[in-house]
């Protein structure tokens, strides 16, 4: 965090709070990570862990009416995202960084044709005429597998998988350097999921863009990411290369996640769920956020917050009990 040279994307000490019904919701608590150009990072965690909030903060599309506090630093391609004017930010969004949303059913504007929604971002960011943008938009849609004769249809005429393809086409229309994919396959059928993931992978290869993939599915991470950050209660609890996380699992929460997965290759065994529930984000525990559910936790864990420590080159973990296990 300190001695990191200018990487492509640096997120430092990010804190985001919402207000809801008079209480402060601690959605993101001191999150730091970085990403090299062209590489991919998986953000893994349960629903409500704050993954989407991290993504929306980077894009600066958090809902104003609900957010009460945003602190920390986001540096993208040498620019301090937090300090940009709204206009400057709008010129980056969709051009240099873009996002694929979780629910393709609601992510497209129901009263505009699909092609016009793709063309819109091309018109905005590339100095092309309307006609040229439309023909480019049609090309983009063909690239994600939507036939040219359907591009003038409205979203309600598309299936879920097609809508997600359209959303992807919007996101990659201007060949961004960074793509944030927020659970891009959660709302889709399993067969479509694989297609969409493959599509994203091949497009990444073609355009050479970096990706942050948000998911709760460890299988998808194993397939699509170079690095992994495990998010729990608004904090990164473990971060490292894919191999670090999958083979040299350190944090008790990450271990718990793997224990709860069925193992298709090995012997059948009983799945071990993580006992308890994630903490209430309006009322986080004082010490380690995972301590109430952690089998190894003691008084020391509950008393004060735990720092990230590097346990091996590039493999970080937020646990004070690592050595003893």
């Amino acid at each position: 965090m300190q001695n990191q040279t200018e990487k492509f994307l640096n997120v430092n000490n990010l804190v985001v709070e919402y207000h809801s019904a008079g209480a402060a919701v601690h959605a993101v608590n001191d999150v730091s990570f970085s990403l090299e150009a062209g590489s991919s990072l998986g953000l893994v965690g349960e629903t409500g862990a704050g993954k989407t909030t991290i993504a929306k903060t980077i894009m600066r599309i958090l809902p104003d009416h609900a957010v009460s506090k945003v602190e920390g630093e986001v540096k993208f391609a040498g620019q301090d995202i937090m300090r940009l004017s709204d206009k400057e930010m709008a010129s980056i969004r969709g051009k240099d960084m873009s996002m694929i949303f979780q629910d393709p059913m609601t992510a497209l504007n129901p009263v505009k044709t699909v092609v016009s929604q793709v063309a819109e971002s091309i018109v905005l960011h590339q100095k092309l005429s309307k006609q040229e943008s439309i023909s480019k938009a049609i090309k983009m849609l063909e690239m994600v597998g939507i036939a040219a004769d359907r591009v003038n249809e409205y979203p309600h005429q598309f299936s879920g998988g097609m809508k997600q393809r359209a959303v992807i086409a919007i996101a990659i229309a201007c060949s961004p350097q960074l793509l944030i994919a927020d659970e891009p396959t959660t709302a889709l059928d399993v067969t479509i999921q694989a297609q969409v993931l493959e599509l994203i992978a091949s497009l990444r290869k073609e355009i050479g863009m970096a990706m942050i993939l948000i998911t709760h599915d460890l299988g998808i991470v194993a397939e699509a990411c170079d690095n992994v950050a495990v998010v729990y209660a608004g904090q990164i609890v473990e971060m490292g290369s894919k191999e670090d996380i999958f083979l040299r699992t350190a944090h008790p929460y990450t271990k718990g996640l793997f224990a709860a997965l069925p193992d298709l290759k090995g012997k059948t065994r009983k799945l071990v769920p993580i006992e308890g529930l994630p903490p209430d984000p309006t009322n986080l525990p004082k010490g380690c956020a995972f301590s109430p559910r952690c089998p190894y936790a003691d008084e020391g864990c509950r008393e004060r917050a735990i720092d990230m420590t590097e346990i091996a080159g590039g493999h970080l973990c937020r646990c004070r009990k690592i050595e003893r296990k």
Binding site: S20, A21, G22, A23, H65, A66
Partner: protein, 293 residues
């Protein structure tokens, strides 16, 4: 427009239950203000014969057009009648027309709408096409036409407005029932072997009635407004009865010199209508989880 919701007050209550709605509405400043105004008007209009030293129809030529004073808080009208006394008597008309005409609209409309929604098919078509005729003109025109037929007077005015408001209730009830019948929780209830009677009593009726409460509150406001419009144009309730619209109609001839003759009754109409609207708004917000924060 303060819509402060106190989190603890609704905790543990089922959304949509009457208790939940009440606890939300009771924390809505606007709705409570409206409720206070309506209660105050009801109580004062009930007690006015005992409070006021004047008779609402007593002509007093020495006080013609008297401006507001300690003796006559709102002044006197063109015949020297005490405006405060008249206005509070007038509240009896507006409120009873509001309540009873909506009682007619709601009862008739609910029955028609429920029949239509429940039986569907030919019954539905017949009822809906019949209502189409009633909805082929603006509601106030329907009220004017019906008033013309029935003549003026309290009971006739209630009947005219009650009938004019019926199609709205019927349509709404029908849409509700159709919507609920197709809802997944009804299928869910049926799938765990809930009896038909139980489904109707426990699921359909409570869910169809909550939006109805909103419609009732709003319709009382609308009926009060329409009653005064009717009286203003010479239908509905007629002078010398102190109905607010009739008072306005009588006062407008003298308003150039004595504006208090038209200001006071108008303010009362507005306060009453707004109070019912505020209550209706609050109930709707309480019922609609989407409209939070």
């Amino acid at each position: 427009m303060a819509k402060k919701t106190n989190k603890s007050s609704t905790a543990g209550l089922k959304p949509g239950s009457l208790k939940y709605v009440w606890s939300k509405v009771s924390h809505n400043a606007g709705a409570m203000g409206g409720l206070v105004i309506i209660c105050a008007i009801i109580i004062l209009s009930a007690l006015i014969p005992f409070i006021s030293p004047y008779d609402y129809s007593a002509i007093d030529m020495s006080n013609m057009y008297a401006l507001p004073s300690m003796q006559h808080l709102f002044g006197c009208d063109e015949l020297g009648r005490d405006i405060m006394t008249r206005v509070l008597y007038g509240a009896r008309y507006t409120l009873s027309i509001g309540f009873f005409s909506v009682l007619i609209s709601a009862t008739g409309g609910i029955i028609l709408g429920a029949l239509s929604g429940y039986f569907g098919g030919l019954v539905d078509t017949a009822i809906m096409r019949f209502l189409d005729i009633f909805q082929a003109f603006p509601q106030i025109l329907l009220a004017i036409a019906l008033s013309a037929v029935f003549g003026s007077g309290l009971d006739k005015c209630i009947l005219a407005l009650g009938l004019a408001g019926m199609p709205n209730f019927a349509r709404m009830m029908r849409a509700n029932i159709l919507g609920i019948r197709g809802a997944e929780y009804i299928e869910a209830a049926a799938s765990i072997n809930c009896t038909k009677v139980r489904i109707i009593l426990k699921h359909i009726i409570p869910n169809a009635f909550s939006p109805l409460i909103v419609q009732i509150a709003m319709s009382i406001a609308a009926a009060g407004l329409q009653a005064s419009s009717l009286s203003f144009v010479g239908l509905g309730i007629q002078a010398p009865e102190p109905e607010w619209g009739a008072m306005l109609a009588a006062g407008r001839n003298f308003m150039r010199d004595y504006p208090h003759l038209v200001i006071v009754p108008g303010l009362f109409i507005m306060a009453t209508v707004m109070s019912f609207n505020l209550i209706g708004d609050a109930i709707r917000d309480a019922l609609d989880p989407k409209l939070k924060d």
